[in-house]
Amino acid sequence: MIKSRSSIVSQIILNTIIIILCCIIIYPFLLVVGASFTEEKALVEFGYNIIPAKASLKAYEYVFKNPAAILNAYKITFIFSVMRMVLAVLLQAMIAYPLTKKMLKGRAGLSFYLYFTMLFGGGMVPSYILITQYLHLDDTIWVYVIPMLVSPWNIFMMRTFFAGIPNAIIESAYIDGANEYRIFFTMILPLSKPILAYIALTTFLGAWNDWNTSMLYINDDSLISLQYLLQRIMKNLEVLQNAQAMGVDISTLQNASEIPGETVRMAMAVVVAGPALVVFPFFQKYFVRGITVGSVKG
């Protein structure tokens, strides 16, 4: 194909626009990383910059000197994220599958039962009272998992996907004498990997980035999530030290301006966000594919 000169020019312009946009997207990442490797005094004097005015590893030394709080938050967050992901995918699929059965009595009622929760909700206050005063899930790891397992959006997305599985396959399983449990676990689930992967990833991501559950329901420092630890460090660096009973004498550090405040915060942000940012882009195609799968209404 021969390209006209004007189309080459317009391609250059369009690509330039997007590349500038990509730079704007990347800039804050580099800024935080750059600041985390800057010497505290240089940062205060010259301000935040991508390229450290004076490079230093002090901030990371400070963060890793007592990594117990960070490691614990990583552990807690990983555990509840995996629990939420596995249970959410399984339970939502378990209710989505019956909804594909057009012959099932009460199917419309069950659908409406789920739909209605998308229209109306009690909101934060009644949920808070329910969870803390009646179910007593606060200050347990279950508060990160159980209240957030079932979302109607996900169920309807799954239902749409399940309904697209050729009926002939399921019919033949019935004829072979398979019961519903068997069909669900050995046929529906294995044939629905794309949608299950999408729901699993979005659920995991949501859990991994969860900060408000800790803020609402957790008083016990050993149970706070990674993002909430980061949020608290913004206000108060001592959180890093308080969470551990180790006999580090921080009083000598605290009064001095020796605590690299700004740079430690940025180093913490890198330590908290870094690993996820390395891992998640690998799964990006599932996210993008899921959006197009999910846009079909069932």
Binding site: L21, M124, L230
Partner: protein, 316 residues
């Protein structure tokens, strides 16, 4: 569904539906998730009655005294209500306007780029902020807006301007929040538009080319009109949620600084603060009731409208 239903009816075993479906087994699968929906969605709905009570922890919901509409009256008469209602609605409208425009423009520009491999790379970069929590984005905002060492003030000073104390000036925040929201979300929201552009019949473009239309004319007369139904539906659905604010955006970006409440306090941050920090269940539950009821009305009305435009996209 299956055509075989029309075939002669065979005697069935008890509990078995047509085609061998087993009602009891199917319901047993749905039981646990349905129960969780009841506990975590339906019970809180009844819990909104606390807006009409003087809720006390020691007496519980049922034994707390009724106060009728007092809580609502206090909330509606307060300065808070006017402020947070205005902020929530105006910010949502701003996000909707700017968000839709940016997402559509981005999708069109990406669509116009012929090097598909480059587009993939661009999309990967543009979507990345979506994987961050608002806490981390709040840190990035802090590095830019820090009053003495932030990048924004460095740039202002470089051009001879006076540094701005960002975290004390509420006037700038509607725009700061809009930029933050776009920075994080524009890549992901353009994916929907990009996908629908990829679905446009190629013969339309060829016909336009034969008629001698240039790229801009094609974009304006063919590409964008093809998106209009999606834009309309997504916008209306967003109006349905106009009384809900993104808690993370407003809370983390503004660092919950009280000086900024004038423009950054929305329904969700207000309810959280009044309930969890001040422990005032009367006021917070009244605000929560307002949000639930207004939210219900807007969602139902907007869906009703969407149903007329495009039944496929409506919720019910």
């Amino acid at each position: 569904m299956a055509k075989s239903n029309d075939v002669a009816v065979k005697p069935r075993k008890k509990g078995k539906g047509i085609n061998g479906t087993n009602t009891i087994q199917l319901y047993s699968l749905a039981a646990i998730p349905a129960f969780l929906v009841f506990v975590f969605s339906y019970i809180p709905m009844f819990g909104i009655i606390i807006a009409f009570k003087n809720y006390r922890f020691d007496t519980g919901i049922f034994n707390s005294p009724w106060v009728g509409l007092d809580n609502l009256k206090v909330f509606l008469a307060s300065d808070d209500f006017a402020r947070i209602a205005y902020n929530t609605i105006s910010m949502n409208l701003l996000f909707m306007l700017v968000g839709t425009t940016c997402a559509v423009l981005l999708a069109v520009v990406l669509f116009e780029i012929t090097a598909r491999k480059a587009v993939k790379t661009y999309q990967t970069i543009l979507i990345t902020p979506n994987f961050l929590s608002w806490v981390v984005v709040g840190y990035m905002g802090y590095a830019i807006l820090h009053p003495t060492s932030g990048v924004a003030n460095s740039i202002i000073q470089m051009f001879g301007g006076k540094p701005i104390n960002w975290y004390a000036e509420p006037g700038y925040w509607p725009w700061i929040l809009t930029i933050a929201s776009e920075w994080k979300g524009v890549g992901m929201s353009s994916v929907v538009y990009y996908a629908s552009l990829m679905g446009i019949d190629a013969s339309l473009f060829e016909a336009a080319k034969i008629d001698g239309a240039n790229r801009l004319q094609v974009a304006w007369h063919i590409t964008i009109p093809q998106l209009v139904p999606v834009i309309v539906v997504l916008s209306i659905l967003r109006v349905g949620n106009i009384f809900r604010g993104d808690f993370g955006l407003f809370y983390q970006m503004s660092r919950n600084v009280a000086d900024l409440y004038e423009t950054t306090d929305v329904m969700d941050t207000y309810i959280f603060r009044v309930m969890r920090i001040f422990g005032d269940f009367s006021l917070s539950s009244a605000a929560g009731l307002m949000q639930s009821v207004v939210g219900f009305i807007t969602v139902v009305v907007t869906n009703f409208i969407v149903k007329f435009i495009d039944p496929e996209k409506s919720l019910f």
